[in-house]
């Protein structure tokens, strides 16, 4: 028999593999959102950015035959949407949550509009790195097909951690996010720092979209994102604005997506709608447990959610 049935052992394997596959878009979007929020602005529009990224990646990969151009295009289209958000949300009396939701509508509309011709064709997918040896069971071999995007995300998380902690620019971003007054006193342009943070964050979110359309599940359809962009906002809070924690949280959320189908395939199948809501319930629960009116969340940027204008 060519394939070896794994039975119950398939569940942890499926989760491990699904964690890497399904966690990659979460990872990029949440790192992007983390960077954005560290500078003191929320970007709910990453859902639209994700879709735009997925569409541009797929389209460019299809037209040029090079998936890496696709990834680049995804990042750039994300950065363009990010520039709109960054500029608009820093105008006086303009609320960043509202801009975010308008950007979801606009970004997804644009992605759907431009993406019509790319639904049918098959674009070149990103290559995967094979860590398996030929003697392993096929299921294990499949699980060990690692995407370079996943590795890239894996590298960006500690890099971003280091960036926030130890670099001058990281300090600027934290200062702008924590206390814009102090940052202004330091002579930092709040507008520029936020603009660049939002654009860079959206660049990452766009790559998250590329992970959806060029890696896993590897198609472009209008329903490709099942809310990962919006979820990333919650995920960042779940991770307390810590890039390394974003990594673990993304893996957790990615793994949760694969748990349902994996359990069904070995015979457990009750209440899958409620099961699918588990990540949301868990996040809410953790927020309720850990937040307290007496102390602020560790890592929360002080200016987040305020309308502090930084046109200095």
């Amino acid at each position: 028999m060519a394939t070896e049935a794994l039975g119950w052992w398939g569940v942890p394997l499926a989760i491990a593999a699904g964690t890497m596959r399904g966690g990659t878009p979460f990872l990029f979007v949440s790192l992007g959102e983390c960077l954005t929020e560290k500078s003191g602005k929320i970007n709910l529009g990453l859902e639209g950015t994700l879709l735009m990224g997925a569409m541009s990646a797929y389209g460019v990969s299809y037209l040029t035959g090079s998936p890496w151009f696709g990834v680049l295009a995804a990042g750039l289209s994300g950065a363009v949407l990010g520039a709109i958000h960054g500029w608009l949300s820093q105008q006086p009396r303009v609320n960043d949550v509202a801009v975010g939701i308008a950007m979801i509508i606009f970004g997804s509309g644009l992605a759907f509009f431009l993406g019509k011709p790319f639904i049918q064709p098959s674009a070149t997918q990103l290559p995967t790195i094979n860590l398996a040896s030929s003697g392993m069971a096929p299921a294990v071999q499949a699980a060990l097909q690692i995407s370079p995007l996943f590795l890239l995300g894996l590298a960006i998380a500690p890099l971003m951690q280091w960036f926030f902690r130890s670099t001058r620019w990281g300090l600027f971003i934290r200062a702008v996010g924590d206390s814009p007054e102090a940052a202004r006193a330091m002579g930092v342009s709040i507008f520029k720092v936020r603009m660049l943070s939002i654009m860079a964050g959206s660049f990452l979110a766009g790559i998250g979209g590329a992970a959806l359309s060029l890696y896993y599940p590897g198609v472009w359809t209008e329903r490709i994102s099942s809310g990962q962009g919006l979820m990333a906002v919650a995920l960042v809070i779940f991770a307390r604005w810590n890039p390394m924690a974003c990594l673990w949280a993304s893996l957790l959320f990615g793994g949760a997506q694969s748990l349902g189908p994996a359990l069904q395939s070995v015979g457990i199948r009750e209440g899958y709608y409620l099961f699918n809501a588990a990540p949301y319930i868990l996040t809410l629960f953790i927020m309720v447990v850990t937040c307290s009116p007496r102390r602020s969340l560790v890592g929360a940027p002080g200016a987040l959610g305020t309308d502090s204008q930084g046109r200095a």
Binding site: L6, P261, Q264
Partner: protein
Amino acid sequence: MSSKRYLNLSRRQVIRGMLATTAFGLTAKLGTGCSPASNGAAAGGGADGLTIGFIYVGPKDDFGWNQAHAEGAAAMSGAFSSVKLIEEASVPETTAVVESMRGMIDIDGANVLFPTSFGYYDPHVLSLAEEYPDVQFFHAGGLYQEGVHPNNVGSYNGYIDEAQYVSGIVAAMTANAGRLGFVAAKPIPSVLRNINSFMLGARSVRPEATTQVVFTGDWAEPIKEAEAVNSMADQGIEVVTCHVDSPKIVMETAERRGIMCTGYHADQLSLAPNGYLTGAEWDWSSFYTKLVTDISEGKSLMDGSIPHMLRGGLREQFCKMSAYGAAVSDEAKAAADAAIAQFMDGSMVIYDGEIKDNNGGVAVAPSESLKQQDVKLEQMNYLVEGVIGSIGS
């Protein structure tokens, strides 16, 4: 803006250049040909007064249900130069669809409407049909009740489970161990019927075959669909098929994992050139063309010259099989062709008792032989013996 650049490439160049199917080519042609000529509020329509409106619940190019109808509509309108086709996509099953239909009638002068989503029927189509007794409403779904629903409403429904039965035969004879998989959206009768027919087809040639079913919970759940195929591949399942909105993900993931697949909704050979065995395809072009021929000859639902229930399977050309893939043996082809022949001469009854469900109960009693039109089949709430899975939500 860099992203706007390939706007100009869009639809015009890319679609035309690459889409092989003639039907879809027609859509694109129609898209450019039908410019703002029709803005007037006056009712009128095409040359012989026939304006036909199609409404889809999702985008027209979803590689699934909606696309199958849109291609059928395009083929139909290509066959009648005098018919004006108007379309609206992504219309939700709320007052929005009532207003869309009303707009098609009042503004564009539509006299025949095809609301193609199941959930449009009650209450939306029913309420509007009473208001516009001269407009004919053909609803895809088979929900018409004689004497209860308005006279100008008709239902049409394709028994695509016949094609799934044949797919089941091919799948079971090609799989070494007879282990099949089915990625399904929701445990509702139309989906269960496809799963069961697939299983019964498989067991008709291979009594020990099994079908693992995974419900994703919704019509389009790309990641869960891919996860389902992956976990099935991990479990050693050899052939997968599906009933979801867009089978593309299931086919491509199966191909990547090196397992085989059978298609749904449309021909998906190009997505899985190695593993594609065959597939259950809709054949709406034939149906729509025939129906519109009747209408343009003056027949109508109201005078009874068009039946209110239009149903059929392989024989009536509501659905068809994809061509066999390379991996299908001659033996399997012969068995499948034999089943198709039985469907064609009307001698095949899929749900012929006794059939047990997968909990050991009796689903179809020994004395029963449920023909395709039997209402019992439309209320299906069981999985037959051999299917691994349960319909609890």
